[in-house]
Structures are given as C-alpha cells and as structure tokens.
Amino acid sequence: MNDSMYAQWLALACGAFLLAGVLVLWRRDLAAIVRLFALQGVALGAMVVVLGLRQGSVHLVAVAVGVGALRAGLLPYLMRRALDTPPPGNGTAGEEARETRPLVNVATSLLAAAVLALVAYAVSQPIVRLSPGPATQAVPVALTVLLVGFFVLVTRRRALSQVVGFLLIDNAITATAFLTTSGVPLVVELGVSLDVLLAVLVLQVLTTRMRAAFGGTDLGELRELHD
Amino acid sequence: MSLWRKIRKTGRVAEPAPERPTGEAPPEAAELRGSVQFRHVDAGSCNGCEVEIGSAFGPVHDAERYGARLVASPRHADALLVTGPVTRNMEVPLRRTYEAVPQPRLVIAVGDCARDCGVFAGAYGVAGAVSDVVPVDAEVPGCPPEPEAIVAALRRLTGR
C-alpha cells in the first residue's frame, strides 16, 4: 500500500465516519439513527483495517474485525431489539419510533454541528503538530464526532438517541486511540468494549423500566421524579 | 428496499394500447399534434365521472401515454374536460374558465349530465347542459362513461 493510496483510503474511511456521525443529527427516525450508527461502526472498522494494512499487522486487522463486529453488529442489534419491543398498553409506537421534538431543532443542530467541526479542528491542532501524518491529521474528525455525540446526549429526548449519543462518544474515543497511537492493546480495547456493552445493557433495562413506568422514553419526564 | 421489490414484482400494469379510435377530430385538434393539456371543470357533477376520469389517467388506462395531461391552470390548457350539468353557481365560472383558455381551445363534455343534463334535466338549480354555456367539440356518453370511452375521446384530440 503506497503513501497516496493509504492517505486516500484513510481519508475516505474518516469521511464516512464523520458523515455517519453528523447525519445522526439530521434523522428523526430512531431506526434510521441506529442504521447510521451501524454504518459508523463499519467505517471505524475500515479505518482500523487500513491502519493495520499499512503497518502490516495482522493483529490490528483482527482487532478491526472485532471492533467492526461489535460496533456494526452487536450494538445495533441490541438497539434494534429495544426499538422493536412494543410499548406496553395501547401503542404510541409512532411517537416512540421518532425523535419528534428535540430540545434544539434539527436545522439549528446541523448548523451547530458545522461549528463544532470547525472548533474541533482548531483545538486539535496542537495534537496534530506533535507528529504530522495522515493518521494524526484525522484526529479532528474523531474529535468532531465526540462533540457531536455529546451534543446528541444533551439535546435529544429519547433514551435510545441518548444511547446513540453515548456510543458516538465511545466510537470517537476509540478512533482517536487508533489514530494517535496506531492501536491500543487488545486487552484494553476489549475492556472498554465490555464497559460499553454493560452500559448499553443497563440503559436498555432502564428504557424498558421507564416504558413500564411512564409509557414512554422521553427523558424529560424523569424530572417528575424530582418534583 | 421493500418498495423496490414491489415495483419489480408489479411490473407494468398499463394495459396494451387499444386500436386508435376512428371518427373525425375537431378541426382545432389538428394544430395540437400529439399534445393536449386538459383542465378539468366540475360544473355540478355527482363525482361519478370524476372517478372515471381519475381512472382514465391512472396506471391501467394511462391516458398520458397518448399525450394527454391534466394541468392546474386553464392558461396551460388546450381543452376543458367538463363534467356534470351546469349548475347556476357554475355557469359564470365555466364561461370564464373557457375564456381563460388560450386559442385554439376545445371543450369535451364528459358524461350524460354534461351532454343533456341527464336525470337532473329541468331541476331548479341547473342552468342547462354544457353546450348551452360554452361550445362543445366532443362528447363522451355514459353515466358514468367507461374509462375506455374517455380515453378514446382524448385520443381523438391528441391524434395518437
């Protein structure tokens, strides 16, 4: 794999990674959001595969396959299941399957994402300058996805979109790790992924419980517990 | 994806085009040469004819393949497709719609009511048949007319 090919493929993978991240803000349909998340998992896997091929490391490619399977396969599958579980009682399924009224409207969040991308670029310059290269130069992409994930976490109402926001942050951290150090030890990655899995399971249980208690997953309604 | 599958499974639903209808076309139609835009005017119909017109322009009969098209403004139209007996309230609007169509213009009276007021003849709210208000160039009999008949009348105008 020569230099320009490597740079280009890496850029493509990063571009897809970024695109899937910001498009989460665009879609209202929760099923589509989950699909986008799966796509991002694929892009992340592809990114690591490119890195692995570049370094000629079979180990890294194996990790990539694992990461891809987890992010693009297992987690979306779990979320799909949470989504498909019919809500108890006479269904407000249409309400449930969509992010109807985010705290910040869609057009504004898209513009906010644009600004976040530029901010991410500006603040990550010191990191890039440490060791300029195609991989490090893509760190702003990961940082953008991280900020966008945080933004999703802050502004979306449905528990499932919040899970996706959380997972976006996780994807971004993983991507940063691979891009800066060209690979974390397998054990660490496994540990982190297990943590995430656990978090998703907890959130899923929480979602189910919330549905049972409130008949919906609008997190705004949790405030009632406080009052 | 499911829509894609459906499209593939359904395939073509338009029926094969029947023979070109015979019978002479109004002289103005010669200038249109294969393209006639219609503005539909409901002058007081029971909506039976509308259903049939809808079906004539639907996928099965597909009147559009002969160069006929429904449009939103009489300025874009070459011909009026008038249904129903002309009620008193619609008499002036129908005349004005006819006036609004640029030359050369044609009128098709669709259905028995439009031709001779049908069962509504002599009713207190009816001003007369379409031909009493604007000059009619072609008529489609029936109550309601079959879509095939409507399509045949349209084809006589488009000449295709």
Partner: protein, 685 residues
C-alpha cells in the same frame, strides 16, 4: 496649491456660500439654490477626490483657523476615494432635493444645513490631525441631527429618532475622542504624520484600537451599535437619508481603515494583533446577517433600506477585517484584494443606496406612506421611478449585471483563496465568512424582490397608492444620475479599480504593485480589457461580457419566439378560478411574503404575533372580526439597550433625590465638595 487642494477649497467655499445665501433668498427659490449649490459643490468635491485618487497628493496647514492646533488637511488616495464618493452622492441628493423640498422642506434651517452637512463630510476624510477630524466629525453629527429633525413637526416618531441619534452619535464621538487622544498623547503630537511614527505599548495600542473601532463602528451602523440607524434613516427627509446612508456611514469605515491600518502603523511594528481584524470580521459578519434578516422581514420601505445599509457596511467590514487579517498573516496580495473588494463595495453601495433611498422618497412623496403592505401598482402610475428602483434593487441584491455583484464577487474571491495562507484561525473563520456572505446575499435577493415586487408591481393596495403620480423632473434627474453611476460601475469596474488600488497602496504599503492587485487593462485581445483578472490567484470574471451575453440571449430568444409564434397577444381577465373579481387585498403583502423567512429564522427574530378573535354575540362559532397583529422587534436593541436604558433611568431617579429644592442643601453640597477636595489634596503627597 495643486489640483485636489484647489478643487476641495472651491467645493467647501461653494457649500459655505450656499449655506449663507440660502436663508436670505425667498422660500420659493430657496430649494433650487440650495440644491444646485450642493450639487455643484458635490461635483467639484468629487473631482477633487478623483484627482487625489489619481495620485495627486495634497496637504495644508492653516494655523489660524482653529485655536491651539490649527487645521491640518491632506488628501491622499484613500481620503480622496471617500471625498469622491461623498461628492457623487451630494450631486444626486442636491438635484433630487430641489423637487423633494416642495413638500414643506423649504425652511431656512434645513436648506442652509444641507450644504454644511455635505461640507462636513468632505472635510472628515480630508482631515490630517486629530483636532481637525474631531471638529469635522462633530460638525457632521450636528448638521445631520438638524436634518434628521427636519420633519419633527409632522410625525412624532421623528423626535424619538433624533434623541436616539443624538445620544449614540455623541457617545461614539466620545469613544473616538478618547481613543485618538490616547494615541496623540503617546505620539506627542496630534498631526497624523506624528501619529504614524508613534510607538505605543501593546496594551495602549489595543485600547486605542478598540475605542476608535467602537466609535467608528457606531457611525457605520454596525451591530450592536446600530440602534440609531433604523430609526434615524427612515425619519429623515429622503435626500438626507440618501446622504446619510450612502455617504455618512462610509465615514465609519474610513475611520476604522485609517486608524487601524494607517495611524497605528508605527505602534504595530511587526504586525498588528490578528484578533483586531478577526473582531472586525466578526462584527461585519454579525452586522451583515442581522441587518439583512431584519430588512427581509421589515414592511417599512425606508426602514428596510436602513437595515440593508447595516448589512452592506457589515460586508465592507468583512472585507476590511479580512484585509487586515491577511496582512498580519503575511499575505499582502490577498490583503490588497480584500481591501479593494471592501472599497469597491463602499462605492457600489453609495451608488445604489442613493438611488434606492431617493426612489423610496419619491414613493413617500407621491403616496404619503412607506408601508409596503399598502403600496403596489406603482408600475403603471410611476413608471420611471419603478424602473429606477428596479435598477437599484438589482444592484442591492448582488445579482449580475448589477454593480453589487462585482464587489461581492471580489470579496468572495479574497475569502475563498486564503485558506493556505491563514492558519488555524483563518481555516475556522473563512468558511463561516463565506457562508455568511452567501446567506446575506441570498436574503438580500429575497428582501429586494419583496421591496420591488410588492411595493411597485401588481395592483395598488390602498387609495393612496392608487392616486400616486410620477415625481417632478428634478427628483427623477437625481435618481437618474445615481442610476447612471450604478450602470457605469456595473459594466466598467475595471476603470475605477486602479484608483482603488492606489488607495489600497496607502494603507498596505508594499502590498500592492503599481498596477494594483486587480490589474484592469492589460495588453491582449480586446476581450481582456473588460475582464477582472486577479493577479496571484486564478480568477476571472467579466461583468460587461455577462451583461452583453444575457442581453444578446434575451434578444435572440425574443426574436425566435416572435418568428415561431402563430398568434398575437391577448389581454385577458386575471385567472381568478372563475369566481372573482379578485380584490387588491387578496394579493400577497410584504408581511405575507416574508412569512416563510420569518418562520425559518424564528429562533433569531422572535416575532411577536397576536391573534384576536371576536365572536358574534349569537354564537361562539361565528366570527365577527379577526385582528392579526405581528411585530418583529429588534431583539438586540431590546436585550442590550433595554437594561442599559433602565439602569440610566434608575440612576437618574435616584439622583433626583439629591435635588430636593432646598437652597441650603445645594450650598452644603458645594461646601462638602470643597472640604473634601482640600483634604484630598492634603493627603496626596
């Protein structure tokens, strides 16, 4: 004394003579005298500015004219540009004012102040010392205030507008005074040449820049210091609005450019801090967006034009900020290009805004209203005014073949090509800047389609609009002159660009080659002379060719259609779905036209709507009357100025408790102050 000096002196003398003569002649011929005098002074002034731009520098020191420092005047290409623009606007406004003044504006004060206002605006860019600049600035403020108040007897809103303007313009003056005084103190002298050589410490330098920027920006109507502009410009008589909006606001731009790029040159050896210019860029961007957004939803024709001025000054400041920023990044060619774009936009804006305000004035003159919601149908009643407004609107919406397009094109070119040179800050700021310019251009299109389409086309929406008649020839003449300038600028920008390049050279020495960054006439095929070539970057565009091509295509198509068509045109009844007749009230109004935009930018504008349904007595379901009330408040004004005004009010009320009318108490205040001062003097070593 050389050419520009003589001409400028003649222009100022003409102004003074007109101002002295005007009160003396009978009211019947006073507007004609004042208008012609102003126009003549403007023409001579424009010639002076043009001569200065052509490279004839001039300077003079008149030690006896003002006590202490005397008057210092100088004309360099930059000052010349602004003098020329002011002169040009004054010609149009003077001619126009002859007819416009028939509407009860022939009073002594107004007619004598008009030439003085022009004189002050010719003096500001020619001032070459701090005291001269400030005196001219104050003269400009006072004369313009008098002119704004000209119609205060007729409308109550005028008084409020005058108060806002008076307060804000003087606060601006104080800021400028503080800034320039600080600079002069550091330079040990107040002539501009001494200021240029001064070396200020960085902190003082930043303070000087910020103070002067605030003062000049408030004159330019930059958000958030724009609050006076949408009040004062609509309420002033229209030719005064034109002068203010097309010439006076430019002085703010001139001040920022002069101080930031020229006078602080010595203090910023090794480059001014980049954040100055990013601040200017940001202020420009915010003004452009906010100004055009307010203009887009405004239904008052002159208020719309006022907000559009804020937008255009914002665009100019974006160019200026970009130029300063590129200069600090060591990209002199780009800096020069951005500055040329900014200055060209100043000229273009002056031309089309003069035209638009005058046309709006004609509408006001003919119908007595500026409310777009009740206008309409003027195309048939005021055909020339309509056509002239169309030319101005085309220019203002930055579409080819209008002149606004050329300068926005240059601005975009300078922003687009700067990424490699401008580092991280540029990489973040420039794409956003391009987005802002683009959105403001798009919204400007919407704004002026609304102003022209609703205000002038279709059928009149009120009896006043129905009764409108065409304006008198002098007003048409004033507008026609402005329209000619627009057309000339639109088709031949390559002619004035060398002059602008010289002005740029005075601000960015070493940046601009002798022919300028945008070299116009270069040797080659004939086509090349009308094409804008950017040196250093590959970008070309020919406004003349585009206009010619569009006209040719239209003629070609019209011919082809006429050849192929078989039938003649028929005048028909409007298609009203057969029921009709459609009343004029069924037309879209300006408010309804802007509704989608208002809804899209709901979060920014926060419109206040109020629907009031009165049901019939018999049943709650039958409606007697529906009242719809919509208001788009200036949010920045409300959020920023509201608290400040409230605080001032509170302080004032508290202060009133001090003055309770007792003479003894007042004397006691004096006594305590005196004692306190003596103690203070004793304590301080």
């Amino acid at each position: 004394m050389n050419v520009p000096g003589t001409l400028l002196t003649v222009a100022l003398g003409l102004c003074l003579a007109t101002a002295l003569l005007a009160p003396a002649v009978p009211a019947r011929i006073r507007p004609a005298l004042s208008g012609l005098g102003t126009a003549a002074a403007g023409a001579v002034g424009a010639a002076a500015g043009g001569a200065a731009m052509a490279g004839h520098a001039w300077s003079a020191w008149l030690p006896d004219l003002l006590p202490l420092a005397g008057v210092r005047l100088a004309l360099d290409p930059l000052g010349g540009l602004f003098v020329a623009v002011t002169g040009g606007v004054a010609v149009c406004a003077g001619v126009y004012g002859i007819g416009y003044a028939r509407h009860g504006l022939s009073g002594r004060v107004v007619q004598a102040t008009l030439p003085l206002f022009v004189a002050s605006m010719l003096l500001v860019p020619a001032a070459a010392s701090v005291s001269t600049l400030l005196v001219a600035w104050e003269l400009m403020a006072i004369t313009s205030l008098l002119l704004v108040l000209a119609e205060h007897g007729r409308r109550t809103a005028v008084g409020g507008a005058g108060l806002w303007y008076a307060v804000m313009t003087h606060l601006g003056l104080i800021a400028i005074l503080a800034g320039l005084a600080g600079l002069a103190a550091g330079a040990h002298g107040e002539a501009f040449d001494q200021l240029r050589a001064a070396h200020l410490p960085p902190l003082a330098r930043d303070a000087v820049f910020l103070a002067t920027f605030a003062g000049f920006a408030s004159k330019a109507g930059v958000v958030p210091l724009h609050a006076w502009l949408p009040r004062a410009h609509p309420e002033a008589p229209s030719h005064v609005s034109a002068l203010m909006s097309a010439a006076m606001v430019n002085m703010g731009v001139y001040g920022i450019a002069r101080v930031g790029l020229d006078l602080l040159r010595g203090s910023s050896e090794g480059g001014a801090p980049a954040w100055w210019w990013l601040l200017v860029l940001a202020a420009g961007g915010v003004s452009a967006m906010y100004g055009i957004l307010q203009a887009a939803v405004s239904a008052d024709l002159k208020r719309l034009l006022g907000y559009s001025t804020t937008e255009n000054m914002g665009l100019v400041l974006m160019g200026l900020g970009a130029a300063g920023f590129f200069a600090t990044r060591g990209a002199p060619r780009l800096a020069a290009l951005a500055l040329v774009a900014a200055l060209l936009h100043v000229v273009n804006h002056a031309a089309f805004k003069t035209l638009l305000f005058q046309a709006a004035g004609s509408v006001l003159y003919a119908t007595g209203t500026r409310d777009l919601d009740v206008l309409g149908g003027l195309r048939a009643r005021m055909p020339y005014t309509t056509a002239l407004f169309a030319i101005g609107a085309l220019a203002a919406s930055a579409l080819p073949p209008g002149n606004g397009f050329v300068s926005e094109w240059l601005l975009l070119q300078s922003l687009v090509h700067a990424i490699p040179a401008s580092g991280v800050a540029g990489a973040v700021a420039l794409p956003l800047a391009v987005g802002v310019v683009a959105l403001s251009a798009g919204l400007a299109v919407a704004t002026f389609v609304k102003a022209f389409g609703v205000g002038f086309l279709a059928r009149p929406r009120s009896p006043e609009a129905d009764r409108a008649v065409e304006s008198p020839p002098s007003m048409l003449g004033g507008m026609g002159l402005a329209a000619l300038c627009c057309a000339a600028l639109a088709l031949g920008p390559t002619v004035i660009v060398p002059g602008l390049a010289r002005a740029v050279g005075t601000l960015l020495p070493g940046a601009a080659p002798a022919t300028g960054p945008v070299s116009g006439p270069v040797s080659g095929p004939a086509m090349e002379t009308v094409t804008l070539h950017l040196s250093g970057i590959a970008g070309t565009m020919s406004p003349l060719l585009i206009a010619a091509a569009v006209v040719a295509a239209i003629i070609l198509l019209a011919g082809a259609v006429r050849m192929l068509a078989a039938r003649g045109r028929r005048v028909a009844r409007l298609w009203d779905c057969g029921v009709g007749p459609m009343s004029a009230r069924m037309q879209y109004t300006a408010t309804s036209f802007a509704e989608p935009l208002q809804r899209v930018f709901d979060d920014v504008l926060r419109p206040e709507t109020d629907v009031d349904v009165t049901p019939k007595q018999e049943s709650a379901y039958l409606v007697e009357r529906i009242r719809f009330h919509a208001l788009v408040p200036d949010r920045i004004e409300r959020r920023l100025y509201g608290p400040v005004l409230a605080a001032v009010d509170a302080v004032g009320r508290r202060a009133r408790a001090l003055a309770n009318g007792s003479v003894h108490r007042y004397l006691a205040y004096g006594f305590w102050t005196l004692t306190g001062l003596l103690i203070l003097l004793a304590v301080i070593p």
